[in-house]
Amino acid sequence: MRYSGFRVLKEALTGHKGWRPAWRDAAPRPAYDIVIIGGGGHGLATAHYLAREFGQSRIAVLEKGWIGGGNVGRNTTIIRSNYLLDGNEPFYEFSLKLWEGLEQVLNYNAMVSQRGILNLIHSDGQRDAFTRRGNAMILNGADADMLSLAEIKKRYPFLNTADARFPIKGGLAQHRGGTVRHDAVAWGYARSADSRGVDIIQNCKVTGFRIENGVCKGVETTRGYIAATKVGCAVAGHSSRLMSLANMRLPIESHVLQAFVSEGLKPVLPGVITFGAGHFYCSQSDKGGLVFGGDIDGYNSYAQRGNLPVVEDVCEGAMAIFPMLGRARLLRMWGGIMDMSMDGSPIIDRTHIDGLYFNGGWCYGGFKATPASGFAFAHLLATDSPHPTASAYRFDRFRKGRMIDEKGMGNQPNLH
């Protein structure tokens, strides 16, 4: 069923009796060409691009809970392509371009809103670093704009620009950045994949791999054995647990990241603001809630809930530059499990086991990557070669010393 303005009118006049579920509740078949593990944004996008761009069929997505119940439904919805390093920037810019056409391709309103993102600058050194980053972005076909303090004050009059520790001196803006409704991304990809014949199988947890003579033959699940020619893993924060079933150890630690949303307010914040020095970032959802967050809690966790010191830290950052937030009541807070990699960058690669492929290490920034990650993983699964924009995301970069370390923090996942 195609969604359109005409369809809405027709349904309005006929008592809304014609709407159908957006995807089938598929039961597992005994065998598939390609099985994707994980019904988050990346797994569902992979299935969509496999079917749409790479002509693959007989595909299943296995999800242990319900689709969209993981990080794709927990993140703070920011999209951007403001990276510095060559291994990253072409990939994230490819992703931003895919976001720009996504709703037409999916025939689904994902509320892609290019309201712009602003990274605040507080010192001369930071201005130099952000100028360099902006130039790297422009060289890779992205947009970047250095804003003066006057321009920032005009756009965001409520900002405290004279904080004693971190006075605001300017900012790096990416006007094509913005936010996307996260749940709609999962649902839109699921609907599109389903309409192309992909089986989306929920409540189906993968509990083991059947590996014979170094070849992956299929997966054991809570709904029985499923044979597959190729298996792609995209389970984000659960990557280490899943891959340990294939006796693999990963360059990943799982950490919890918290997010917060205030009560609904009238429109006050037109774009996304990040205050990196104070560990705080914020945007306003279309419902009116101020959506904000900060650092990961900093220790290994699978608990999907954080602790109070980071809540305090985030709120301190907020009050420093955004004092009006102190008047808003907090509505909800939650946590998600991040697959923090050793250099802060992701992996999209084959494993040493034939037929077994891996996508993970997204840290706290994988939502913006969803379209490109799905595209690149589909490319790898279909052609057995990496997509040009993802060719640096290999497992062996750690062994070879070719880390993609945007922050220059070294092998300390909690610092990326």
Partner: protein, 95 residues
Amino acid sequence: MIIDHPLLGPRDSSEFTYMGDAALIDRPDPEAEDAAQAFYEYAYLRDNPAGWHRELWFHEAGDRSWLVVTRNTLTHEISKVELARDVARSRGRSR
């Protein structure tokens, strides 16, 4: 989270910095045949278990001792806190 420091008693976890898996105490032998492989695994690969995890915490805003904390990554419950020095010595690292 409250970490029951063996010398100082219960302390707030925010006084500490976190260094990850306590297996980092067992530094590989740089003279060994397979040193390159062993150091690659030591530096970059982690078990990252869901459940009990022995990990290094540094009392940075306190007495600056290193602790080995046994903590459940599913519940954040802490079952054991040791001085990293004692753990290292018990593993033959007394030099």
